[in-house]
Symmetry: C2
Subunit: 358 residues, 2 copies
């Protein structure tokens, strides 16, 4: 099968090895993020090159009947499509103070795509979960080395979900992205899509689903994607799960020179804990806030676009800030409590622009 090359227009490289890229914010200013602009988060040196003719998806563990499905078997099952926002847990890490451990993602490790595949519960129901199953473990084809406390570990990428989330209608075993077969960098031939959770849960190059009698504690579950805060008076160690409510200003860009006259500020907003209910914009560095207009398609698990007509009052420098509120009443903080790897930074997006004298 011919695989198109990932175009690097509007994608910038965050790391060569592992291959990670993020999207320029103006390129996020649409409902659907085109595949060639979608952020990439790999964990190992090698991007798996899966031969679909020999690939199969195994379903085993605490099940009545193990399954071993070919790509054709999978595609013959009932499918659905959903538009889902994926955000890397390390998105916006560069703006955490003091600097946090990990790849230096800006704000562009997020995107919104249409995913098509088989609801995971279709597979699990066919396999018949046993009573004792508490989690579903997902194994990718990707493997390699990780450094940990001076040791080099040989590991495979794997993550688990609680059974309730695994059985949710929305959790998909996806084989199309924006209507096309997945690109290799996005998990070809098959990846998991877990709406509402940070991207690490949406395991790429999926090859096995195992139901477990007890919680999984592997490397990418117990050593990474964990919010470690400080230990003095409030030790805390908390796995990263659902996506915090967040918004980005996509236009103008930080540092842009904006002409006098009306300018429409654009952006996107999303939350793993509910629908976006409102978006407030400040054009005076947070001293006052006004409601922006939410517009465009609305779909559970997907971001919402917003816009705000702005007429700068004078020439000068302006500080624009966006703050979203979700249906659970969550809003964005000025800054997040610091955590060692800088995960889940959903603080208010702030940019500065210049309006020159005519």
């Amino acid at each position: 099968m011919e695989q198109a090359q990932i175009d690097t227009v509007d994608l910038s490289v965050v790391s060569e090895d592992p291959a990670c890229s993020e999207t320029a914010l103006p390129a996020l200013d649409s409902w659907i993020t085109p595949t060639e602009r979608f952020y990439i988060r790999s964990h190992f040196s090698e991007v798996p090159n899966v031969d679909v003719s020999s690939w199969s998806l195994k379903v085993d563990g605490e099940v009545e009947r193990s399954l071993d499905l070919s790509f054709e078997d999978l595609k013959s099952l009932p499918a659905r499509s959903a538009v889902v926002t994926l955000e890397c847990a390390g998105n916006s890490r560069s703006y955490v103070t003091p600097p946090a451990e990990g790849l230096r993602f800006g704000h562009g490790a997020v995107g919104n795509a249409e995913w098509t595949g088989v609801p995971l519960h279709e597979l699990l129901s066919r396999a018949g979960p046993k009573k004792g199953a508490v989690e579903a473990l997902f194994e990718g084809t990707d493997a390699g080395e990780e450094e940990e406390e001076g040791l080099t570990l040989e590991i495979e990428y794997a993550r688990s979900l609680p059974m309730a989330k695994a059985m949710s209608d929305d959790t998909l075993v996806a084989y199309l992205m924006n209507g096309e077969p997945l690109e290799p960098a996005h998990g070809y031939p098959v990846r998991l899509i877990v709406p509402g959770w940070y991207g690490m849960a949406s395991v790429k190059w999926l090859r096995r689903v195992s139901l477990l009698p007890r919680p999984y504690q592997g490397f990418f579950q117990g050593r990474r994607y964990v919010r470690i805060t400080d230990g003095e008076s409030r030790p805390s160690w908390e796995p990263v799960k659902s996506v915090g409510v967040k918004s980005l200003i996509t236009r103008p860009r930080h540092g842009e020179v904006v002409r006098q006259g009306e300018f429409t500020v654009h952006g996107v907003a999303w939350s793993g804990d509910g629908a976006i209910e409102g978006l407030e914009l400040s054009t005076d560095g947070g001293r006052s806030w006004r409601e922006a207009e939410l517009f465009g398609p609305e779909s559970a698990g997907a971001w919402r676009r917003w816009k705000f007509p702005w007429t700068p009052s004078t020439p000068g420098h302006f500080i624009l800030m966006s703050r979203a509120v979700d249906s659970a009443g969550n809003t964005q903080p000025a800054s997040i409590p610091w955590n060692f790897r800088g995960y889940a930074n959903n603080s208010i997006h702030t940019i500065a622009v210049e309006v020159p004298a005519e």
Copy 2:
């Protein structure tokens, strides 16, 4: 005259052109910063290579008698020494949010050195300031190109001081740094030293002092080293002058792994507006603060060292913060009001360290 090469140990390059370097924080953990570790802020491609035999210092403008002093003339005048902290106005710019325009200095564009030279008022008294003189303008030998609004400008480095500051006992025309002739990068043969003001006032490669009948508005006075904040509801345009109260944790380093048991946290603190009266340290991310001990030499215009014995209560990650108070009652803010070029960031220094289980 033989000029030693600047050693790059403990100095890291911030910019190749113009040549700018900053000091690693552990290398700031002493009363005097050795010259070879002292930060460098140049403004142009070329570092002046002044021939001292043909160099002279002119004093002119609104004076009764113009002067033209050779290096030997200057050295024959009454001299004094003072230990003075210099901090670049762009120090800590990298930690301003959103990102500010300018070179990406971390926290290391600061240092404390002994400077020896002639008090400027000795020269000005000999020249006889006229009644109409309101400012003293200082011209350096450095010149080159700057980009501004799409234009390339050919300019020389020049800055002014109000007469009162120029006539202060403390303002020096210095020719020794830490007891040795100035290095070329630090202004050989002669530079101004203006205690209490950000480094841009301490003009290097000084060649002329002119008393002016009206305030100077040249490039590095009116277009740079100006705090431009936002224009929506509180337009602000304010030249950067005196150094805001500030402190740094020099040991441990951000990200350091610290063994269990007692550890002495070290640092430095300074202010352009008075003596350092106290230093508070938090080891729990700002929830509680305790007094550190100020120690070592005390001298007007110089930084003060401080230390704090800390016994981490548990293994884990810890967030350390330092906050100085000066004799004018100023203290460090959690963050500064954003300004376009990120000048004068004196916000609380925050680092994270890890204490492993034994």
